[in-house]
């Protein structure tokens, strides 16, 4: 967990958590009434990114499990909201982090949880072997 690439992944998660939180915070304060569903989701997403970042930093067995769950929820979220934003565009009039499979964020929300899960799986396997 705490070798170079793992720490780098943690840092990238941190950067994304920070920017997602800043944007969600603004949307909740100023524009919540325009698209309550999309903006609530943005806030939930931001909290999950923060949770995943913290668990990646801690890196013990329990936090490893929470991190796996957080990454899995992020991936499910981006897929489900991505589909919903095409089938029910009226509920997603304003963009959330997960709308259109995260295209507004350079598809980072789609790719990051997969890299996270892959890394956690690798670390878990190594820990199991030792």
């Amino acid at each position: 967990m705490h070798s170079g690439p793992g720490r780098a992944l943690t840092a990238v998660y941190g950067i994304f958590a920070l920017s997602a939180t800043a944007r969600a915070g603004y949307q909740l304060i100023r524009e919540f009434d325009f698209a309550p569903i999309a903006y609530s989701l943005s806030a939930v997403a931001a909290v999950i990114y923060i949770l995943a970042t913290i668990c990646l930093v801690i890196g013990n067995r329990i936090s490893h499990r929470i991190a796996v769950a957080a990454c899995a929820i992020e991936f499910l979220g981006v897929i489900v909201v991505g589909i919903l934003s095409h089938t029910h565009p009226e509920d997603f009039a304003k963009p959330s982090v997960w709308s259109n499979f995260g295209s507004g964020y350079g598809f980072v929300p789609l790719v990051l949880p997969l890299i996270g899960l892959w890394w956690l799986w690798r670390v878990g396997r190594r820990a199991h072997r030792d």
Partner: protein
């Protein structure tokens, strides 16, 4: 906005893009070359941080001349960009592997998007 001030802003935005772009490409090259962040790269990150703080001061000083700009939105972006570069720069300083520049590259890409958003908001 008076045209002279507008021109200063345009030039400053171009400088910000250029410095962030160079820093990002440089960081990617160092990551591929498997090198930790050297003094020059860290100085580059510090320079970008300085420019972003100048941007913050400039925009506070001239905020009255921009109409219909939500201060919470605008300064939210400026301060987040400053935080991202400061944290990534510190990270690159502490991390003694290729992943120091790697994190700096990710931060650079994020900040390029933020500069674009700042420019759109200010217009």
């Amino acid at each position: 906005m008076p045209t002279k001030l507008g021109r200063v802003f345009t030039v400053f935005t171009i400088v910000l893009y250029a410095v962030t772009g160079i820093l990002t490409v440089w960081s990617i090259v160092e990551t591929i070359r498997n090198r930790p962040a050297g003094k020059a790269l860290l100085a580059g990150a510090a320079f970008l941080l300085l420019l972003l703080i100048v941007q913050l001061i400039l925009s506070i000083a001239t905020f009255g001349s921009a109409h219909d700009v939500d201060p919470l939105l605008y300064f939210g972006y400026v301060i987040t960009a400053i935080l991202v570069i400061a944290l990534a720069g510190f990270w690159a300083f502490a991390e003694l592997s290729r992943w120091g520049p790697g994190v700096l590259a990710a931060a650079g890409l994020t900040v390029i998007v933020m500069i674009e958003r700042l420019d759109q908001i200010w217009q």
